[in-house]
Every structure is written in structure tokens, then in C-alpha cells.
Symmetry: T
Subunit: 148 residues, 12 copies
């Protein structure tokens, strides 16, 4: 059974409450539910992990690396300085899709560079909670060789 | 009827032949066909424009700005220096979705900065021809307030 | 008869409609009319050209270079990257006056540098449609050796 | 009665003698006279201040801020490092027009950035003593809502 | 009852022993005691948290965000690269006061930029353990609208 | 009798009127009064100096250097370019405390670097008029070896 | 029959008249004639294209890519910012030789970087109209495996 | 008994499996065993710690700082941004030897700067698992004042 | 009679007392006396001016420009940011010799660039009070065409 | 008799053996022979010098400067840092043609800048051993005013 | 018989006398003796070369390249600008080990970048004369596939 | 007997002939003679060395370091990149005076930084051959504790 690990980085646990004018009012639970539902429609399963700690995220990726077919990752701010996470991604053999709620090219200068996107297959940024759905579709397209 | 203008920038007319190891073997015609088909399934229509000239692209956007509900744009290399195009996008009141075939964060340093993405709603980059399909889905999600 | 070529660069054709809070509500036609009227009061004539394409602007300057006494130029965003246009201006023997509707020193960092102003006689920036009128007066002062 | 404060920054007291091939042979007195004459033709009055000291210029602006309708400023080299003057301008509620005799975009690199222009309404640069006249006309256009 | 969360970042647990010529000989316990005493004098209470892990600090802030009236933060070196912590602070609705034992402007170049201070109310830096006391007074001044 | 010289740099004389949304409505006189009162409570005296001129500030520091026990300085914009003032501070043997009304890390990029803070004992920034009070308390703590 | 496409970029149509002290007095027609004559001596043919528009140059290269054995290109100022042209060259399978009339390393700083030379076989710069002749000889050497 | 703490940073737990063409096929267990054996030959003992979390590494160093004679550290990617770890090392009074499996000067630009090496005694980089052995020998040389 | 204007910039009035380990114990009066004595030996006279204010220094140079044969200038920190002073020097027709007590290339990075030396005849830096004597000798050599 | 000095810089003595995939298999002797033969066909003579030492190259140029009509130079890596060689070239009155075997714009970033090309007549780069032949032809064209 | 060329760059001939607080009191002769002894214990031989001239070092490497199994190099300051030496190393087929007496990451900023380390197998830096011994052990480990 | 070593760097052997409009028409022999004469007047002797090779200059300094009382150095272009020479100077215990014929702050940007001046006692730059005489006088002042 195709399994996608969904990893949510720092500060994503409070989604829906934190700066809603920027990040929206949808909660992480709602996003996870939407992803599970979409995945189920293809016969896929989703494994979810959220942490505010880079080290814990690397641990999680390390532990599950052998059991997953793809990684859907919202690194949060780690995208811009998490070189340890970057090295962890570089060591994966399954595809990584990076997503961001906001458009990282339309905010502070330092958000434009994503060190994790450098070693990902692709990036989806700026569509709010839909970035995740589109990211899962991107994964589906690549792994199943369908449109999306 | 909801209309999306699809604009393909410089060098995209030769897609499928140009550096296929980088950009894939799918032709622009095939991509356009896939977009039309997907749009039709929602009762939407697609208007397509390709040009190697920044000026002609600005002309096209100017002329159709009043008749479209969204712009799906692959600016090609113009993403990195086309400040005139950037200003044209900034003047639009409909949403802009920027797509790239390759992952602009995983190539030359200068490709990391997209001046057009600065004024777009979001960016999808790195999924080959699927970037377009995902971009159209992103537009659908936003305009119809559905998942994608 | 003294002739001034007035060139409007990319995105200026939609003036009055595009981001009016930034660029004002005066149309290009109205600006041109004001310039013609002021020029007529001195017995001068105005030749107007607008294009969204750098190449077409260089063509126009090349073709008319022998018939004009001065160039009044709003390069739009080309001011910041149009090195081809810059070289065309450097090749002119008549004076060039560069104008901008907005104050290029009070916006994004990249708008502060004008590569075309480097080879112009002077720059007038930030007075909306009046920047053109002041630019024509600057030309009048220089060519007729009057105050302005 | 509409009053414009005209401020001339460092080294402008010796105008006409200092590097005439660069700054021209017109004296400051002659410029002031021309401004007074033009202002009078509109029923306006001009108040003039020159100093080589940034502190004294800030003093002068502070003291007269309540009595003027606009500030016509040639900051000289202070344009490029006078952050104290910049903050003084930012605190004004009347419009500021910055003028330069020479074209600051066509000289040394450090002259391209004007920290005072960042907080001015607009900039006129490169027309010798005529820059002042054009600056006053710009002020007239803005305050009287006429052409210039 | 007004509650201030006091967060001590990486390496602050060993205060008093680590490089005393730089950071002083006062221990963290002593600082906390001083803060508790001062807070008590106003009828306030202090909640203390120390961790060497950015993730754990974000966790702590997330968990207590609803129960506190202000955050007194010594981010340690995280001030200079902890973008995840920065985003956590940006999401807070209570005021943040950043303190440093040493003067961050008088040490290595990279210590001059504090990404967390960007989203704090203010910064107090260079007064050793007194920086904390002054920070608590700053909080008192703001929350109680008293002098400090 | 312990004496603290309080120096207010450029544009601080108009405090309360200049950009009150940024700098607050408290006047300099009110701040001075508050400082005098606090100092008196410790049996200290305050000597106040304000100038818009860097040279005059250096003069004042030079003249009083032998009679003071500490310098409380709000350099205003001079913090960012006043290298002459910086050298004057470096030559002092009494402690210098630098204060700013606004948070210099949360505004323009160039405000982040304070060349005067490099040679000060510490920095307090962002608490409006309370920055001064906290600065005086910091001085008190250091000179009297009390808490603050 | 071996065919070389010779492309002249922006501002090269006015060669001989534009800034002759910099670019010489030889016209483009004369250069083309010299190239045709030299090519004929080897039994080769030359196809010539000049445009001031980057888009038109990409169009021309695209259209003739299948019929040529080499591209001799003077990109003019596009060398320094024409990333679209750069991508077009990168997609060619025949060798590209870049030539410049002036020595791009001995002029403005920004002329030192050629983004088109990055994807060319080699560069010849600084020999006036002879740069073209040398460029054609370089092509001859490579394609015929002769000396030059 | 001389004790050396060996710390392995992020991603080193999967050594032997992760990107073996870059990092080799030797496992961390094998490296540890080699170090223990070499240390034993001198009558020394080794204490090993691995974590993917910067905070946990700082914790470990803090806790064992009093019981060790030297620290042999492979910071992994933390070398390039772990300023918290850097400060922890700066606080140690025993020597630190930094080792890297790959040559950090022969990879990406950002790997060239090691903020932890700034406060270490020395650096050994590029010899695969042998970097550790050489690092232990370096420690032996320094602590026992022998050759290595 | 040959007259040299000797200008001492900010903070030089306290020479001998300020940071003597850096600037020496010789007072400004002693330096002036030595210069007067040396000048007298050639039948020259010295005119001395010291100010902490850039504006006052420009005033002094302006007023005396017509009466002097050379300017011996220690700009102090103004060397590094005094662009107004720089423009004043550029306007002089007599030679300028810049001197510094300390070696500006052996201190902070920002002291390496002297904007005033850019428009001076030469620079003498690092010899304490002897820098002035050597500067006067340099002036003597140039003006009298002798050795020094 | 027209004489061209051919100078080969560091590492060119081992041509043909060193990194042949980059620099080709042609030896320096073969290149020299080809140059002699071509020169002879015009009645010219060639003088050859190779050294790995910048100083020796400057010596050679100094000694022969009076006897040569042109310098054909492959500075090797000295092109990128040999400022002493650059000054030697600047002092020559005969034309200098710089050649490189590889395309310096298509390799490492630091190879893009040639400090020696700044003071050369022109640059030929990227054609392997043919760069020398083309360089000699360029010299022939310039000195004999023929095509090449 | 395995032969290692040991090259000591500029200023290493005076080791033991030059800045002993930085570089130690061990002489180069003593280091060479230690290396010979260690090499002998493996049945290896050492060939030593010292020069202050980059050219002579390249000569030596060129001449001995065919007879050696490895190069142990202390490039001294050439590490930071010797691009000619860098190219020479790049052309070697035997492994290069770079050593430095001091820790190049803990000194001036420009010492952090080693252009020679970019093309070496690895770097050992900061252990005084022991860096050489460790470097030879690194070579031994690599060539003999032993531990070190 | 006090001995000063005078070292002339690259390209100084041709002084008087090379670019005389920049470097003057005085020959090196004449300069040396003037220095010898001045030195003799104090009972000092001069030892002269000129080389175009950095290595040879370091050799010369090394060999004579024990026999000299001061080094008068014109490093030529080595001032800007000769880090090996810089390290040699840093190792000297006698004072170094650096001189330049031209004003290094008034030429190309890269000439402004002197890496050798960083470790010299002082710098004299811009007075042609008189820079040497002044440099010797500076040495005399320092060594004999006289005025100059």
C-alpha cells in the first residue's frame, strides 16, 4: 500500500489560530483529514508527523524512511536555515514535495531561499491549505504516472 | 463562463525537443490539450498564448485582462529578469498562478529568485508538465472555493 | 521645427486603469494631449510612441534618431534592466530626459537604479503625469536656453 | 500666502565658482532670484536657507515647519548619508521636492542612492540651475493642482 | 494575576560557570529569584522555562501562550538564526521583550542581527543579569502603563 | 554628587509632534522631567543637552567629560552613520547607555546597525519614552551596583 | 552545404554610425559581406539575422535550429541580461561562438558577465569587426577540424 | 582515566546507508568501535553521543563538561548554522577537535564556513571515517604531548 | 608668503588625553607648534583650524580657499563618511594632503576606505603626530619642487 | 621583422598531459610550432616564453618590451589574481591579445573575471589550442590592418 | 617504494623563529625529521621541498608528479589566493592532503577560504607541527587502506 | 650602523619609462640615490632590493631580517593580493613603512585595500618619488625618536 509521510514543521501545530490573516483559519487536523480522504480515494495511506524541533523531524524521517513512498513536507521556517534537515532529505531515495501555505517569494527576502527545496523534487507555495492537497496530487502524479 | 488565460513564455514553443532530459518530452500542444480537457470537466474554458517576446506577452495580458478570471503563467526565464512583465502582473486584478517545469530552487543560483512570483498568488515548480495541471487545479480551488 | 520624441515604455498604455492608487487616473491620451498643447505653445511638435517591447522601442528610436531634437522617455520597468535600450540611448546625440510617474527612490530597492538614467541628461521622478510636463519643460529649457 | 522654503545644502554657497565644468557658472544668488521671480508670478513667496551643516539645516526646517507649504531641497552630498536630515524630512507634513544640479545616476556609484529622496515626493536631477526652477514648478503643480 | 513567561535559551542553564569574564558569575537561579521578587512586589507572577532546544522553546511558548500577559525572552544565540522561534513570536498577541546579557552590537558581526528582535516590542542588551531586571521593568511599564 | 549627562540627538527636540504614531506624544521636556525626578530620588543630578548637529554633540561631550559619571545617549539617526560621535564615545572613560524610542531592529535595514552602540555599554530600544527611564535605571544599577 | 547562422543583437543595425569611436565605422553590411566572402572560400554559406528584440532573436534561432551547423552570435547588451536567449542557446545542439566588437572586460563592470557566453563554446571580444571574422574562423576550425 | 567525549551530529546515525557514494559505507558503530580500540591502546576511554537535535547535543556537552578531557565532534550540518552549539563549545575549557567525513571546502559554498570550527582547536575534514581516527590522534598528541 | 591651512577634524581637540595608547600623548597645541616651526624654517606660514563639525570645517575651507596654497587635513572619522567634506575638497584647486595619526588600514574595516583621500593628492597614515610633520614636508616638496 | 612574444603562464608547460578532458591533448610544443608556421607565412617571427612564476613572466615582458610588436598571452590562472602582471601589461605600448584554452565564462565563478583582460586589447577564450591561432590572427589583423 | 612529496609554502622556512606564539617553536627541520621517521616506520620515503615562490612550487610539483604517490602540502598563505597552485593540484592524479599549523577558521576572515583545499582530498588545520604528522597518517590510511 | 632595507616590488624596475603620466619620469636609480644620500646625512645605510617576484621578495626579507633596523617597502600591486608577503611582514620585529607612488585611494576600487599595509606601521601614498623620501623620514623619526 502506497504510503506518504506528511511532515509539518515548526509552528504548524497552532494553524488556524496563529496569524489567521496570513495563514488562514483551517486547522492542521482539517488539513490532515483532507489529505487522508484524498489519499484513501486512491487506496493510499497517510502517516502524519508534526514537530517544532528540527531534530525530532530528522528522527521521524530516519525512522520511517524505509516504509514510505514519498514525503510531503511543510518545513515552515526550517526551509530557510535547516541545513540538517536538508541533509536528511538529500539522503532519501523517495521523492520529496515541499509545500508552503504562503507564497515564500512574496514575503521577507530571507524566505525566498529554501535550502530544503534545493533537494526536493518540487515546490508548491502560496495556496494556503490547498498547497498540501496540490502537493499530494503532485506526489500521486509522479508515483502513479497519472496526471495528478 | 470561467476563462483562464494560459501563457507560455520564451523557449516553451519547442518543448519536447529542447533539452528533453531537463524539460521532458511532452509537447506544448499536449499540455494545452490536457489543460483544455481538465478545464472542460469543470465547464471552464482555456485561452492559450505563447511568445518568446516579453513585450508580446504583456500585450496579450493587457488585451485579455478584462475577459479572464485567472492567469496561469509559465514565464520561463523571464521569471528572473522580466520586470516589465512583473509590473503587468501587479496591475492585474485576477489571480496569477506561476508554474515552472523544473525546480527553480535546484538549478543555477539566479533561477531561485522569481520577480514574477513576487506578485503572483502562488508558485508550482518542479513537476514537469504536471506543474501546469496542478496550477490549473490551484486556480480551480481558489476561484470555485473547492479543494482543487 | 523642433521635434521631441515622447516614448512610453511597457505597461504605460493602460495608464489610468492600472493600479490607479499608484499611477493615478490620468490616461496616456490625456498626457499626450497636454504635451502636444504645451509644445505647440512654443511652436514645437511632439511625436509619440508607446510599446511594451524593448526591441520595438529601440527600433523606433533608431528610425527617428535623425529627425528629432530630443527624447522624452518614460522607460517604465526597462529603466532597471533594459541594457539594450541603455545602449541605444548612449548612441543618441540629442538630449534624453527620463521621467517616471512614481518616485523610484521610494519603492522597491531594485527600482532605485536606473540604467537608462545613467546615459540620460537628467531624471524627473515622482510627480505623476506632471513628471512628463516637467520633462518637456526641462527639454525646452535646454534646447532653447530659456528657464524652462 | 503660499510659502516655499528653499534649502541649499553643503557646498552650494560657492556655486558658480566650484567646479564650474560640473556645476555650471550660475551663482546661488542668481538661482534664488529666478525662484523668487517665478514664485512672485504666482503670488507665492520664497524663503531661502543655505548651510554647510546638516544640524543647521535640520534646525532651519524644524523652526519653519509650521510656516511653510512646501520644501524645495538640494541636499547636496547629504542626500547620500544624511540620515538625520532624512528623519527630519520624514517628519514633515508638507511636500518635499528634491533637486540636484547634476544627474546623480550618471556619476559615482554612491551618488545613485539618495536617502532623502526616499522620503521626498519626487526628485529632479541633472538640469543644472534649471533643476530648481523645475522643482518649484513641480511644487506649484502639486499645491495648486495645475499643470506645473 | 499578571503572568510573565521568562524564557532562557541555549547555554543559559550554565550561567555563572560558562565564560564568566563575558557573561558574569550570577547564576540563572539567582536571576530567576530576582525576577520573582520584583514581580511579587507588583503582585505579578513569573513562569520560568529554560531549554537548549529551539523546538522545546517553541513548544513551551505554544502551550503557555493563552495563559500569559507577556514574554521576557533571552534567546541566546537563537536570536541570530532561530527563524522558527521568530515565527512563533510573530504569532503571539502579548508583548515580547528580548534581553541579552552582553551587548550584541559590540561582539562578532553576526551577533548584530537579531531575527527575534525584529518581531519583539523592544530589546535590552549589554547589562549582564540586570538586562533581565530592566526587561521585566519594561514589561511592567507597558502592561501597567507606569513608568517602569 | 553623581551626575549623568543626557544627550538627545537630531530631531528629538520636536518629540511629541514629529510622527507621533511612531515616536509617541510625550515631549522631550516631559522625558527630561521624568529623568530628573527619578535621578533625584537617588540623590543624582541630570545634565541635559539636545542638538541636531553631530559636531555640537561631540563638543558637549568633550566639555563635560570630566564632570560626569555616565552618559545616557539617544543618538537618533547618528547611531547609523555618526562615526565622529562614535570615536568621541570610544574616548570616554565613563559608561555610555544608548537608548532609542523605537525598536531599531524592527524598522529599515540600515537602522539595525548602530555604530555608537558598538562602543556603548549597552542598548535599550523600542520602549518609547520608557527607554530613557530604563536607561537611567541601567546606569543606576551599574554605578551603584544595585539591581537597577 | 555547411551553413552558419549569424545573429546580430540590439543596436547592431546602426553600426558605423553609433558611437564610432567605440564601435568603429565599419557597417553591418560590410561585416556581413566579409563573412559571406570568407565562408564562400570554404564552400560554406551564411544566413544573417539582425533584431533589436530578444524575442525575435529567439524566434529566429528556433526556426533555423534544424538547418544550421553553427551559430555566430553578437548578442550585444543581451549578453548581460538576456536569460531567455541564454536558455535558447542552451537548447541548441550546434556550437555557438559569441563575439563582441569591444572588449567586454575593459568597460563597465556589468559588461564583464556574459550569461550567453556561459552556454557558448567560446568568446571573442575586443577586435572590432574582426571579432566576427575570427569567430567564423573559430567555427571553421571546430567544424572542419582544421586550424582555423 | 583520560576520557574523550565523541559527539556525532545530525544524520550521522544512518551512516553507511545514507548517500554512501558521498559518506562511505562504514557504519557509526564501526567508527565508534575503532575509536574505542585506539583509545584503549592508550588507556583512554571514549564516551559516545549521537543526536539529530542541536539542543540535545548542547545538553549532552553541558552534562558531561566536568568529566571529560576533550571533545571530538562531528557537527554535521550544524557546523554551518549551529550558533547555539558554537556558544556551547566556546564555553568549554577542554580542547575541541572538529571532524568531517567529506571535505567541506570541496562541496557547496555554504559548507566552507564552519561556525563551530571557529571555536575549536582544529579541523580535520575529508578523510571519511579516518577523519575520526585522525581527530582522536590529534587529541592524543595534544593531551599527552606526544606526536599523535 | 606660502600659506598652508591645517585642519583638524572631530575629536582631535582632545588629543593627548583621548585614548593615549592609540593616539599618543602629544597635544594638538604641540603638533601645531611643531608645524609652525617647520613652516617658518621655509618662510611659510600656517593657519590652523579645528572643529568637531563637518559643516564648520567646510565653512572654514570655503572662506580661506582663496588665501591658501595647500590644505593639510586630518579629517578624523569624517574620512569615512563625510561626503560633504569630500565635495568641498574636490572643489579646491590647491593640493590636499590627508594625514591620520593611526594606520587606517590596520584597524576596523570601515576605516580602510577614506572618501576624502579619494580627492586628495596623497595620504600619510600611521605615524602618530609625525604624520602631520611628514604631511607638511610632502606639501613642501610639491609646492617648492624640492625633495621634501 | 614583425615579432610577437608568446607567453604561456602557469601550468601550461604540462599541456597535453594535465586534465586532457578539459585542456585537450595537444602539447605546448605543437602549439608553438603551429604559431611559428602561421607567423612565417606572413614573414613574422615568434618568441616563446613559458613560466609558472608571475615574477619571471613580468621579467620576460620587461626585457623584451622594446623588441616586440605584440604580446600573445595565455595568463592561465594569473588572469584571475595576477595584479602585478596586469600592471606590467598596462605599461606596454604594443597590443596584448589574451587567450584561454577553455571558456572562462563557463567554469567556476572566479574564472569569469580576468584582471589581465581589463588591460588587453581583446580576449579569445574557449577554443582549445585554436584560441592561440585565432589570437595570432587577431594580432595580424590589427598590426597589418588586414582581415585576420 | 611509496614516496610522499612534502611541500612547505611561503614563510615556512623560518618556522620556529617567526611569530612563535602563533606558529610554535618547532623548526621545519624538526618537522621534516619527524615525518621521515614516521614514513620510514612504514617503509615509505619522504621528499621535501620548501619555497617562498608559487612558481617554484608549481615547478617542483610538475617535475616530481610522475614519481610520487601523494602530496602533503602546507600552502601557507597561497591557500587563499594561489589559483595557479590550485590548478596545478587539480592536474595531479595522486591524492593531496593540505595541512596548516594554525586553525584557518579561527583567524582572519580571508583565511577561511582555501582555494587549494577545494581540489585536495582533505584538510587538517590547527594542530601546530602535529598537523603534518596527522596529514602523513591520513595519506598512509588512504594509500595503504589502513586506519591511519 | 642603522640599516634600512628598501624593497621595490613588481614593475618598479622600469620606473621612469612605464606610464610616466601616472608614475612620473624619475628612475629607480635616482630614487635609490636620493635615499642613500638622505640616509648618509644621518649616518645610516640603505640596502636596496627589487624584484618582480613575490617569492624572491620574501626570500630577501627573510635573509636580511636579522641585519636591518627597518623595512621601507613599495609592494606595488602585491599590496592588493600578496598574502604571502603580508605574512612575511607580520613576522618581522622591525618597523615596516609602506609607500606608493600613486594615491591608492584615488584609482581602481581594488587598489584601496592594501593587505600589506594591514601589518605595516604606516602608509605613505600619492607623492610620486617623494613618497620614498617621506617614508625614509618616517622611519628616521620612529627609530631616532626625532621629528622626521
Amino acid at each position: 500500500m502506497t504510503t506518504v509521510l506528511v511532515v509539518h514543521g515548526p509552528n504548524l501545530g497552532t494553524l488556524g489560530r496563529r496569524e489567521p490573516e496570513l495563514y488562514g483559519t483551517t486547522t492542521l487536523a482539517a488539513i490532515n483529514a483532507a489529505l487522508v480522504e484524498l489519499a484513501s480515494s486512491w487506496g493510499w495511506q497517510i502517516s502524519v508527523f508534526q514537530s517544532n524541533s528540527e531534530g525530532a523531524i530528522i528522527d521521524a524521517i530516519e525512522q520511517r524512511a524505509g516504509d514510505i513512498d514519498g514525503l510531503l513536507l511543510n518545513p515552515g521556517a526550517l526551509a530557510h536555515y535547516g541545513l540538517g534537515l536538508r541533509d536528511a532529505l538529500a539522503g532519501l531515495t523517495v521523492p520529496v514535495v515541499e509545500v508552503h501555505l504562503t507564497n515564500i517569494h512574496a514575503r521577507e527576502d530571507w524566505r525566498r531561499r529554501s535550502v530544503t527545496a534545493e533537494v526536493s523534487r518540487g515546490l508548491i507555495s502560496g495556496f494556503g491549505w490547498r498547497s498540501y492537497v496540490l502537493g499530494l496530487r503532485a506526489m500521486h502524479g509522479m508515483l502513479s504516472d497519472t496526471e495528478s
